[in-house]
């Protein structure tokens, strides 16, 4: 398709667009409003609803010569077709005259609306969509004032059909536009909803188990042009015009989806202003106009009644509520007594400002601050991370994307979605893993390896690229050679690495090997290429930028040997009872948290922190984009933002830390942290117009995702772009011990039982539980079947797990979800036995 410009006239306005542009899009770019329902700019056109009917006139051409026929006035003769045509399915033509405002065209729209409204219920007063409804808006603009349809002949259909537990369908309201079905089929590639029946009875149905089994299901409610699809979360909660909007960033995973939080005063929450729903905010370079269901529904933790609202101080065996003054004084005492043997532990959920303040405080007290995670490689990301021009949306034919040791749809759904679409555009997606995951269906090459052998596979690719003898022992098979060919020939290369099957040292080795791949293939330093870590938390990348990393000696010794610890937004005791024991041995523990977690229970002082919905902050995504979040609701009384608590703590011990505003703190951080040099809150708020247009008056066109008027964020360049960097050397992986035991491997599941997701009860039926996913052969050998109980034991720990037999699990391997209360963070050799109840 050439990008040759075509000029035509639409409603007397001259419009020039590239050839192949659909008339409806050409009109929209020129600010001309052609109404649509079934058309959506991110979907293939189908011409079903017939709402976009226009008159199209084409210049007459001489049959023999092909030359334009001119009229008496010297202008080309334009012949109009006998019928109205759909603007959404017709690409523009040179010299065409499109008329959408003639009586004929207006009648067409009016009549189509009359048809759509024949059985459409008069639900507006109680319909969630009312106020942001394309059908309402277009009916007012183009529709008849009344219907000639006899009311008592209308179809009566089911009004509350659950499509799974998260999405509710009202069959009467559905206008059969197909946007939802086509979104699932074309964009997600998981057709778990579809049309069935014929004619007026045509209806949406789902046969997946659970129903509408897709983590992207919520997006269909944004693009549904009527109130047919609503979320169980928001249904009947509030009217859109009552809602105020605030821009934020999702706190669940390293993609950093841009959100709009809609808030309203809640009568049944004592009049508190609360988040009523989470909507996507358009950022085409990050999440386009989509979010996943974890981000959409996982906001309830912020308004949970379990939130801490007062500081706590240990008295005897228990914690008692005290005033801020008393708590700060007690904390200050504890820190002073530690005499510099102080550690700080930050979690990847905290904002840049919080983590920077923590590091500053601890270092100025003579101690060291670390990141409470077990995944390494972040220092390589600064060198080789996604470049300044990196955008998954630009990758396609001729590019390659390598994913190692990560079940991407479970760990970073919007990256999965964007990579899947890159594959649709022809990008070579290469997936290395021990078991089938959802990305493999779109892969040009799958590299299957034994559990835990991601590093070996990466080194095999490196060997195929370099051919050096030191790598010979990692030589891979034909699949590896094929993949290396894609990598070598790629224009742009993205390498994503996770931690499935690896411990911390393994992730460091994988990061090194991945960075070396970029160097060996010549992509290091390209602005459109780079290395991305699939971090466990939203702001892990920010922590690394600020200089926090997993402690070299491990968390246990760091905590157990410290005189005092300040723990921010992390729950080591909850992740692992052994770490709980380390917390107990630590001299004095200060915890800043949202909830009374296991770690908080063991603390000497607990400060109630604000949630992301209540305060400003910035977050650095895994692609190294710094983005700004704004407060949406007034903070819970009695809470303070983490960075302020740390400043107050500093004041107790005679340190003067930035305590004025988050933006001032950000500027201080930008002056100190090289990665953030030159950034400011103002720069982060910069916006540009984006395509397609969504929201506002154009919500009928692109859906009800919010326009981004609060900031697109700033993409950090990789150091490699600026010149040669320090050489990277690959690290040989440590072989996992064998010997008749089973390898227990923790895996990420998007919908888990973590602290910030548990309060969203709608997700309970889909939530990962303490489960053991095992192969059929192992199940047979152990005499267990789906639903039976087994006991897994490793390193002095054990857990009871429900069996899930899955063909994708390698034999000799048991997969256990993270964040369900099973303290397995890195792969471990263990034993598994069926639990047989005694009579």
């Amino acid at each position: 398709m050439s990008a040759q410009p075509v000029t035509l006239t639409i409603d007397d306005v001259g419009v020039t667009v590239p050839a192949g542009t659909l008339i409806v899009e050409a009109a929209k770019r020129a600010g001309i409003h052609i109404p649509v329902f079934c058309y959506h700019p991110k979907l293939e056109p189908v011409g079903m609803c017939r709402m976009c009917l226009v008159e199209i006139g084409r210049p007459r051409r001489d049959r023999a010569t092909g030359a334009p026929v001119l009229g008496a006035d010297g202008r080309p003769v334009v012949d109009f077709g006998p019928k109205l045509e759909t603007a959404c399915t017709t690409p523009v033509g040179e010299g065409w005259v499109v008329r959408g405002l003639t009586e004929n065209a207006r009648a067409g729209r009016r009549e189509v609306l009359e048809f759509l409204l024949t059985s459409h219920p008069l639900d507006c007063p109680v319909c969630d969509k009312g106020g942001e409804c394309p059908l309402q808006n277009l009916t007012i603009a183009h529709g008849p004032g009344k219907s000639r349809f006899a009311y008592d002949e209308k179809m009566h259909l089911a009004k509350r059909v659950p499509l799974g537990d998260l999405i509710v369908l009202d069959r009467e309201r559905c206008i059969q536009c197909g946007r939802c079905v086509r979104f699932q089929e074309e964009i997600v590639g998981e057709p778990v909803i579809g049309f069935t029946e014929r004619g007026r009875k045509m209806e949406i149905v789902t046969f997946s188990e659970p129903g509408f089994d897709s983590v992207f299901s919520g997006n269909t409610t944004d693009i549904c042009p009527v109130g047919a699809l609503t979320t169980a979360d928001f249904r009947f909660e509030a009217r859109p015009w009552e809602l105020r909007a605030a821009a934020s960033i999702c706190s669940h995973c390293p993609v950093g989806c841009n959100l709009t939080l809609n808030v309203r005063r809640q009568p049944n929450a004592r009049g508190q202003i609360q988040v009523q729903r989470v909507m996507p905010r358009q950022n085409e370079a990050v999440n386009e106009i989509w979010i996943c269901d974890k981000g959409r529904f996982g906001h309830h933790f912020a308004s949970s009644p379990e939130r801490l609202a007062a500081p706590l101080v240990r008295r005897g065996e228990g914690l008692v509520e005290v005033s801020w003054e008393e708590a700060l004084a007690a904390a200050g005492d504890g820190l002073r007594r530690a005499q510099g043997r102080i550690v700080g532990l930050g979690g990847g959920r905290a904002a840049n400002e919080d983590l920077y303040q923590l590091r500053t405080l601890i270092e100025r007290l003579g101690g060291s601050a670390a990141l409470a995670e077990w995944m390494a490689g972040g220092d390589l990301i600064q060198q080789f991370g996604a470049g300044s021009q990196f955008d998954f949306g630009r990758l396609g034919a001729g590019d390659a994307i390598l994913v190692l040791a990560s079940d991407l749809q479970e760990e970073a759904p919007l990256w999965w979605l964007r990579i899947k679409q890159a594959a649709d555009r022809g990008a070579a997606v290469l997936v290395a893993g021990a078991r089938p995951t959802r990305l493999e269906g779109h892969a040009a090459q799958v590299l299957r390896h034994p559990p835990g052998h991601a590093v070996q596979t990466a080194l095999g690719l490196l060997h195929a690229l370099r051919g050096t003898r030191d790598l010979a022992r990692f030589r891979g098979d034909e699949g590896v050679r094929q993949a290396a060919k894609f990598i070598r020939e790629a224009r742009e290369l993205a390498v994503l690495f996770g931690r499935e099957g690896l411990d911390e040292a393994g992730t460091q080795a994988l990061a090194c090997a991945s960075a070396e791949l970029l160097v060996a293939s010549g992509h290091a330093g390209r602005p459109g290429s780079g290395l991305i870590a699939v971090w466990p938390k939203a702001n892990t990348q920010g922590a690394w930028e600020i200089g926090l990393r997993p402690p070299p000696g491990g968390l246990h010794s760091m905590l157990a040997g410290a005189g005092a610890a300040v723990i921010v937004a992390a729950d080591p005791a909850g992740d692992d009872p052994a770490l709980g024991e380390a917390v107990d041995r630590c001299g004095f523990v200060v915890v800043q948290e949202l909830f009374l977690t296991e770690t908080a229970r063991r603390a000497d002082v607990v400060f109630p922190a604000q949630a992301f919905t209540e305060r400003e902050g910035t977050y650095t995504s895994g692609e190294r984009r710094v983005q700004r979040a704004y407060p949406a609701v007034p903070p819970l009384a009695g809470t303070r933002p983490d960075w302020r608590i740390l400043a107050d703590l500093g004041a107790q011990v005679g340190l003067s830390l930035e305590n004025g505003s988050a933006s001032a703190l950000f500027e201080a951080m930008a002056a100190d942290v090289p990665s953030f040099a030159g950034l400011s809150y103002r720069a982060l708020a910069h916006v540009e117009s984006q395509w397609p247009i969504v929201g506002g008056d154009d919500l009928y066109y692109g859906g009800t995702a919010y326009r981004n008027e609060q900031g697109l964020g700033i993409k950090l360049p990789a150091l490699a772009e600026q010149g040669p960097t320090a050489a990277v050397h690959w690290i040989a992986p440590v072989e996992a011990p064998s010997g008749g035991k089973v390898l227990l491997v923790p895996v990420e599941r998007l919908l888990d039982s973590g602290t910030t997701l548990l309060p969203t009860r709608e997700l309970d039926p889909r939530r990962a539980r303490p489960q053991a996913m095992l192969s059929r052969s192992d199940a047979d050998a152990w005499g267990v079947a789906d639903g039976d109980e087994v006991e897994a034991a490793w390193k002095g720990r054990s857990a009871r797990l429900a069996v899930v037999v899955s063909d994708g699990v390698p034999a000799g391997c048991v997969l256990i979800p993270r964040s369900v209360g099973v303290p397995l963070d890195a792969p471990a050799a263990g034993r598994v036995a069926a639990v047989r109840e005694r009579a």
């Binding site: 998981e190 057709p191 909803i193 579809g194 049309f195 069935t196 029946e197 014929r198 789902t206 046969f207």
Partner: protein, 166 residues
């Protein structure tokens, strides 16, 4: 269950279509499932989906779209009378009414013994031999043309006695 028990038949069906387009086999496989189960239950959707590498929804949505697939059991024999315009011009509607009256059911209903459902259907391409009907059971569909109420009742009686005529 279908995959193991009817392996050779399934392979013969799949062989009719290019292997990279085996989704085409969904319609004959739905007929197979209907033959085996009497209608198309949810487990059949999953079985067929697994055979063709498509989703259960992509299979299940067809059952509601096409008139000859049923997602729930009906009478063992579906007596489907054409009452479309050309047949109706030759007495099909009166035929249908009278047949139902004699069977003691409403049009669309099933006899008390669960054996016979009588339905009105659209044109069956037998317009010169009205009144007529087709009998659909799990095994297939057979036409019975130039019928009278008596001949129809006689046929139904034979069906009741377990004798099937082509």
């Amino acid at each position: 269950m279908l995959a193991e028990t009817y392996r050779s038949e399934i392979e013969a069906i799949l062989a009719k279509y290019p292997p990279e387009h085996k989704r085409s086999a969904v319609m004959p496989l739905l007929y197979l499932a209907q033959r085996v189960y009497g209608h198309v239950p949810p487990q059949a959707l999953d079985e067929i989906a697994a055979l063709l590498d498509i989703s259960s929804t992509q299979v299940g949505s067809l059952v509601g779209f096409y008139s000859l697939y049923y997602d729930r059991p009906g009478g063992k024999y579906r007596v489907q009378i054409c009452t479309d315009l050309p047949c109706a011009l030759r007495g099909a509607e009166a035929f249908a009414r009278e047949l139902c009256r004699r069977l003691g059911i409403e049009l669309g209903g099933t006899t008390a013994d669960g054996l016979i459902t009588v339905e009105a259907v659209m044109c069956l391409a037998a317009c010169d031999r009205a009144p007529m009907f087709q009998v659909q059971d799990a095994e297939g569909i057979h036409y019975h043309e130039n019928q009278t109420v008596d001949s129809a009742l006689a046929l139904i009686e034979m069906l009741r006695q377990g004798v099937r005529r082509g």
